[in-house]
């Protein structure tokens, strides 16, 4: 659906929107949700650095220990260490993820982020919003809105992990993660 250069353009636009909304890059912390939110957050930070002169700190967050489906999921998600670069008191945290779906991952991420301090604000940036929310959660920065059927899968592929930049809409394929 979308290819390398378009993905890069989308990231650049999101970076501008984040800085505009925050009135600069001050006190900004980008936190990518593992797995694919982490490289996205790094790229957003690099893009911000390219036009603001300074890149905001970047963290990565694993929400496995905060999910509400730990007892229902098969197989259980592997948990990995989070890495939050600074105390988050008073900062503007932008959570970064590839696909926004049910909202349950973001609910878990908000719980997790509060264990690292008390941010002044928490915002949400996603590459793709595919709808089907199960919780009252909405994104602040959206790369693309893609209307989907529940049976479809949105697959965001990134150079750092998958060897290519692309977004695919797959019919009835097995989901590799719920968002």
């Amino acid at each position: 659906m979308q290819r390398g250069p378009e993905v890069a353009r989308t990231i650049r636009r999101l970076a501008h929107e984040i800085v505009e909304s925050n009135g600069g890059a001050r006190d900004l912390v980008l936190v990518g949700l593992l797995t694919r939110g982490a490289p996205l957050a790094k790229r957003l930070a690099a893009a911000i650095g390219a036009f603001e002169g300074e890149s905001p700190p970047v963290g990565k967050l694993d929400v496995g220990l905060y999910r509400d489906d730990v007892a229902h999921r098969d197989p259980p998600p592997p948990v990995r260490p989070s890495d939050i670069p600074r105390n988050l008191d008073g900062t503007t945290v932008v959570l970064v993820d590839d696909v926004l779906f049910t909202g349950r991952t973001i609910r878990a991420a908000m719980d997790a982020i509060m264990d690292f301090g008390r941010p002044a604000r928490v915002r949400l940036a996603v590459m793709v919003d595919r709808g089907h929310r199960e919780l009252p959660i909405r994104p602040d920065f959206v790369g693309r809105n893609i209307p989907t059927a529940a049976s479809q899968t949105v697959d965001v592929r990134l150079e750092e992990i998958d060897g290519e930049d692309a977004i695919y809409l797959i019919e009835g394929a097995e989901r590799h993660g719920e968002h």
Binding site: A46, G49, V70, P76, P78, D115, I161
Partner: protein, 342 residues
């Protein structure tokens, strides 16, 4: 392959660490109801425990060192033998994951009134235990308990048989300092014959590809291990009474606790004789590789199996073993609580 945004100068230098990030994802899943010993674990399963423990160690370092993942899960510790560190370590681990913990000691329970192990285990299950952590002086007690309950059983030490969580925390500690254990030389010194720590370490280390040397007086070495039938796993095992030779090229030196009663049993001519030949000292450690780790499962008899300078020296990671024990036990409790038995 598609080109990515060339504007940011950092982009090119960022690629290698990101690739490493993707490759460290554990592939194994945990499917076991019980953890009775390390001898059944594959290298992948051990890897899963250790990588999960990395995440747990990170949780412990946060300002709020706990999460609520296992709320609604009840962990019961049932100890028929005295233990401070193992029981406390499991309790702290369970609480750090938000589980409820009930500690039972044999002295204060119906065990004192002659209730059988099986009855006790069934009663504990009936009141709602999800995970039972058990220590018992008889080898095989945890396996017996596991056969009679649907609760997950974690062996916290059974007789001279096994102590799997100690072995896994030892491997975790080694891996943090030494890295990949494949081909590394680990020397375990002391009363190997009576040591469940040595046995569980041996199986886990061999699965991880390490070369293990078991060393001690001939009377304290198990004969069966000398003719170990090609055990599963890429590592190897050697048994010797020559400590000076064993220490050559060692990456890890682990001393085991010497019980004073071994002397009364005629297994040791005298403690002084043991100290002279087998005590881990700074002087002896000079034969090991530079930076070799000194480990001990505790509690230490300083001045017997290990000299105080070695126990608290620069190479010693004895205290870190205790700290890592909490993260490793958190990992095990998390994996057991979320296991999907096949």
């Amino acid at each position: 392959m598609v080109s990515i945004e060339p504007a940011a100068p950092e982009a090119a230098t960022e690629a290698p660490p990101l690739q490493a990030e993707a490759s460290t994802e554990p592939t194994a899943t945990w499917t076991r109801k019980d953890l009775l010993d390390t001898d059944v674990l594959s290298g992948e399963e051990i890897g899963l425990v250790l990588e999960t423990a990395d995440a747990m160690a990170e949780v412990r370092e946060r300002p709020v060192g706990r999460v609520a993942t296992l709320r609604g899960t009840t962990v019961v510790t049932l100890f028929y033998e005295n233990s401070t560190r193992t029981r406390a370590s499991f309790e702290i681990a369970a609480k750090a994951l938000g589980a409820d913990v009930i500690n039972l000691a044999a002295a204060g329970s119906s065990v004192g009134k002659g209730e059988s192990l099986i009855d006790t285990v069934r009663t504990i299950e009936a009141v709602g235990a999800d995970i039972l952590v058990m220590r018992h002086p008889s080898s095989g007690a945890a396996a017996l308990a596991a056969r009679h309950t649907d609760a997950s059983v974690v062996n916290g030490g059974d007789g001279a048989h096994a102590h799997p969580t100690q072995a896994l925390l030892d491997l975790y500690t080694m891996r943090r300092h030494v890295g990949d254990l494949a081909g590394r030389k680990v020397v375990i010194v002391g009363d190997v014959l009576h040591s469940r720590v040595a046995r569980s370490n041996l199986w886990a280390l061999m699965a991880a590809g390490a070369q293990v040397t078991l060393c001690g007086p001939a009377t304290l070495l198990p004969r069966t291990l000398r003719t170990l039938p090609g055990h599963e796993g890429p590592g190897g095992c050697e048994v010797t009474s020559d400590l000076e030779a064993a220490l050559l090229g060692a990456d890890v030196v682990m001393a085991l606790r010497i019980q004073r009663e071994r002397q009364e049993q005629g297994l040791l001519p005298s403690l002084r004789e043991y100290i002279r030949q087998y005590q881990i000292t700074e002087e002896r450690l000079a034969r090991a590789n530079p930076g070799a780790l000194v480990m001990h499962p505790g509690p230490m008899n300083e001045g017997v199996e290990i000299a105080p300078e070695a126990a608290h020296g620069l190479r010693s990671v004895v205290e870190e073993q205790v700290t890592n024990g909490v993260a490793v036990r958190m990992a095990i409790l998390y994996l057991m609580a979320t296991a999907r038995p096949r």
